[in-house]
Amino acid sequence: MTASPEGSKETSERDNLRPTPTAWIAIFIIVFWVLVAVFAPILAPFSHSEMISFESFAVVEESAFLGTDYLGRDVLSRIIFGARMTLGLALIATIISFTTGIVLGFVAAISPGWVDQVLSRTVDAIMAFPSIMLALIIIGGVGTSLPVVILTVALIDATRVFRLSRALALDASVMDYVSVARARGEDVGWIMLHEILPNTMTPLAAEFGIRYTFAILFISSLSFLGLGVQPPVADWGVMVKENLQGLLFGAPAALLPAACIGTISVAVNLLVDWFLHRSSTMIPEELMG
């Protein structure tokens, strides 16, 4: 947002745009998992619920090289299908939270005071809860199902997105280009879409990564508690829960799905770190936490 001579800005940007080795590793991991999730039915040797052996936690002939889980299902196939479930659910939740969070945040920033007050105080009230407690209370009240889990995670995420996008929009809304647009007689929706959104894109993109990892961790934690995705569906959190008791006999069945969650969330976090570092001049410091 700082005005700098065109030429020098371009060169420094080109230098900064080049991903560091860490960023390359992160990109590689993310692309890998996306491909696995998309092509799951082609890649997986078995279906997610097929019992291929009567032996639990064993590398039997029929199974792929990771062996079987506690019900004699193929661990590799379940991890591959689990990628779909875990990454897909988190993506849906993040997209919902982003659209509602950004729209409400922008509305709060450029609307008259009372709208902002109502929205901000509601968000404050929701944020007074530890997020896991909020989820437990909602799921306890309504019972669990996939839509409930997705909407709960989206609600928790949306409060954070709301805060960020409101603050960013407040910063942007005092800029000259917004005043000019207002003077031109553009309506609020147009200003949000054409003036404020493009100028808050960078921090919002970084926030998307942070919220996405949060959603992955949160949904799989709920599944691990037995309150999220329900068996026999393959989800990485569910797989850890199911096979935890068998740690003594078949460690891969419990450890690998958990490690998969670790790889994707470390990768996204590293990418966000690099991204924030490279564009740190564009983001107000108080929002970096």
Partner: protein, 315 residues
Amino acid sequence: MRNLILRRLALGLVTMWVVSLLVFASTEVLPGDVAESILGKDAPDEVIAAMRERLGLNRPAYVRYWDWLSGLLVGDLGVSLGSGRPIAELIDDRLWNTVRLASVTAIIAVPLAVILGLVSAMKAGTLMDRSISIGTLCMISLPEFFVAALLVYIFAVKLRWLPALPSVNPNSSIWESLTSMALPIMTLTFAVLAHMARMTRNAVINVLSSAYIEMALLKGVHNWRIILFHAFPNALSPIINVIALNLAYLVAGVVIVETAFSYPGLARLMVDGVATRDIPMIQACGMIFCATYVSLNLLADILSILTNPRLRTQN
């Protein structure tokens, strides 16, 4: 200053009240009431109606809210739907188990995190700082249950040094109960350590970049002296804030850790309550956790007012 603190306390009370309102609302007003969840959806209407009568669900919601809140304030937490026993009785031991787990973790994690943060702030930009930074980033990204499973695998299954499941036997010695709780404590420490270390680093680096530190440097003051006598007192307020905020992470961590290790604590009682839809139990446990969380945040605010000279001397 007193006004500032009083105002903050009042705000804390209001927050607590709003939280209680939301806890009650989300478990009572949403579709499917308690009577239905006890008897199942297929139960005949008359039976459900009788159960509603017995549980007092026919009274308007605000009356029930008032009963619940006033009971809560005098320690009457209601009756569990699952076992029919008073919740206060069920919670008693569990609460202390959780408090013990959380406090031992705090005693270990807080000094460790502050030291890690200080070291990486002092050595900012060096290999040491970068490895701490990447290490803590990975710790943040890993789900707690992965850390739990990995630690059990290493220390209980492979090395056989520590028991996989903690036993809480009141007769065992302190050493015995500590070793039996070692794995849950380690997992929980992992969960809170990383955030705390990273935020401490940022707080100290912020202070280190201020003008008076540069002045001290130019005067030729020794490095450690600068850190301990010039930077640390001013970084204390943000660091205390960081610690209190992150102790609140314990609330979240405890839920996963107690489930992973079958630890007989309050969080597991609550998770079981959610699974069986024992609504009074969810409300009671939820209120205890949320009240702790709100109080810790409140404590952070008040301590940062007290450690900040500008706020402290303000009228």
